[in-house]
Symmetry: C2
């Protein structure tokens, strides 16, 4: 079962080849699982062993090259013809004396492609330094170029089918967020509340199931809210603490992240409530400003101006492009909503805008995932934005 | 709260320095989140942005260097003194014109360490090719060595505290496996059964909570059992199909993977039952053979000989070292139970031994995670090994 039509994959390939031509690349070797999925449909938890997709300008289909035992998975999930799915032997896995990239280099040599202009995804998660050195040793006369964000940029404008999956992911995110609110209470262990969030993420809805998000649910509380990437413990939640909730729904590897903040057990302190009101007002204003034709930094400026009026500043970026992805990140690494990013917004670009401010004893964060429309933006989840009480 | 005593971290550091000296390395730069955790205690889902741990022979503590916003998480989880926790500015994140490794290179230069013998983890997941090129450009006269498995090998023999966490992970794995068996049934969607497995993995037991395993639950059924790394769908399980179950419990990032096979709805076909009996007999024989002093390939040979008597052969390795880890893999990439691996077993080495054979229409797999004891081996989960019926 392909998640998209073969026609859609072929259109993606055409756009990719067009970018390759502009950048003077005849062959690109992709290692980012999201980019591999985008062009071939391949979807499996096998990116812990080396695997690549090779796109050549003059080939009608990409080549998927991975571990022999994963070729069956490729046949199940890819639109490619069988001869474009190539497995390497298992004795290349995790051994000092050989490496799957030597196999890929031989593949290039066999096709007499080694003298072409070749791009490698040097700045993606799974293309590690050894892969580069293996390529350099196997093909010492090739000057490998970097094509890290080439396909990621093609991905930046979503198709209607992709938007549909992100909307479905938004519905799953709503349910996961509700599961968090329903299960966080004084005396309940963090792990037990997180377990219910996971369950809701994977169950999805009655109409469609959920996929594993690229990042685990983040639900820090108390002083740990100042450490945004710590995961849960088995300690119980405490009364009179804020808890930040950052999670995503996922559908066919498409994400719609959502962040909220809840206060446990009692009415929240007035200064946290005031902070929440200010942040939500800023979020609303900033979302209202989104429209095609303005830049990423224009969007960020709306927020910055709002907060400056209140005498506050947030140092880090306030959002980034999102969509199709694999662990460890659901961000696409192309556009950031921050000063200096002059990318012009276009319809069906999709972002996760996440706003947060921290006080000494806890903070407030709130986010939305949205697409740019013809005239503004559309969010994928429908969930109250204020400080929530549990 | 540190997961281990400061003394244990210091002992790990001493062993690491001893390995560094043997390999002629004065400084090593670690990027593998498991290795970073092992030496510092750092535990956060922040490895999607560049971060490293620097160990210098003549420094009493390692340095943790990561994104500024994650220094609070480092202060929460590391045993290091504050001046050994260093944050880089947020404008280095995901930008074309700068990179966190330039910051790390400056850190080395500031300490006049650039002329020392420096090792990089070139063959781990998050140290990508760009990191290497950034180091090479910033420090063009340094010949960076590879130290990829140096700390992983130090990790290969577990302490009593680590064994305790792996035993706890084994108890969680039992519960997760039972959740799978309790929820797989004809007409139940795959995602709904997987959701209950996730829930059990994260809840853990009443005495201790679960952590997120480094690999998602794999529960393929029917023809998808021949594609071992495909994840679930929202299709219902069907009557009269085998389902392979591969999952792990996780406790403080320590894993105890467990694989079983169930047959849905009816008594299994005789040839699958026969296969299961043969594989379980082989697993039992092979586990019985484990003891200190023999090699990894000696262990594999027991299985190979058993299966050869039955006219069968399994091409890939039958196990690997496991323990502390982060996505995308719970394997340690040091030892494999396969021909050619002559590593000698020692007490408290820990492995996941996974045996499987496939017929045309489905297969049988079964695994155990164990430690080598003074005289044999001890498994961490207690779960029936035969073909299970649901």
């Amino acid at each position: 079962m392909n998640v998209f039509s073969t026609k859609e994959y072929q259109q993606r390939l055409l756009k990719t080849k067009s970018s390759m031509e502009k950048q003077g690349l005849e062959i690109i070797i992709l290692a980012d699982p999201a980019n591999m999925n985008y062009l071939t449909g391949y979807d499996g938890w096998s990116f812990y062993t080396p695997q690549v997709v090779v796109v050549a300008l003059d080939e009608k289909e990409p080549f998927w090259i991975g571990r022999g035992m994963d070729t069956n998975g490729a046949k199940h999930t890819c639109w490619l013809s069988r001869e474009h799915i190539i497995g390497y032997p298992d004795n290349l896995v995790q051994t000092a004396n050989n490496h799957p990239m030597r196999f890929v280099a031989d593949f290039l040599k066999d096709r007499c492609w080694a003298n072409r202009s070749i791009g490698l995804e040097k700045d993606v998660y799974y293309f590690n330094a050894r892969w580069l050195e293996e390529f350099q040793q196997a093909l010492p006369h090739v000057d490998f170029l970097d094509c890290s964000l080439l396909v990621s940029w093609v991905r930046s404008i979503k198709s209607e089918s992709e938007i549909t999956y992100m909307m479905q992911a938004g519905k799953i995110a709503e349910r996961a967020m509700q599961a968090a609110l329903d299960n966080i209470a004084p005396g309940i262990r963090e792990c037990d509340a997180v377990a219910e969030v996971y369950r809701a993420q994977i169950r999805g809805t009655e109409s469609f199931g959920g996929d594993y998000p690229a990042i685990v649910p983040m639900m820090p509380t108390g002083e740990k809210t100042s450490a945004p990437h710590l995961t849960w413990t088995d300690e119980p939640y405490q009364n009179e603490q804020a808890v930040n909730l950052e999670l995503s729904g996922c559908r066919h590897r498409y994400h719609s992240p959502l962040a909220r903040t809840a206060y446990i057990g009692s009415p929240p302190p007035q200064k946290l409530q005031d902070l929440a009101n200010n942040v939500v007002e800023g979020l609303n204003l900033t979302l209202d400003a989104v429209r095609p034709g303005i830049t990423c930094e224009d969007v960020e400026r709306v927020w910055r101006t709002h907060m400056a009026k209140l005498g506050m500043e947030k140092e880090s970026r306030i959002g980034y492009s999102t969509g199709l992805n694999y662990p460890p990140d659901w961000g696409e690494h192309t556009m950031s909503l921050r000063q200096g990013d002059r990318t012009v917004l276009q319809p069906n670009m999709t972002f996760h805008m996440i706003l947060g401010m921290w006080l000494d004893d806890g903070g407030f964060e709130c986010s939305e995932t949205f697409r740019v429309t013809e005239s503004g933006c559309q969010t994928f989840a429908d969930f109250p934005r204020g400080l929530l009480q549990v």
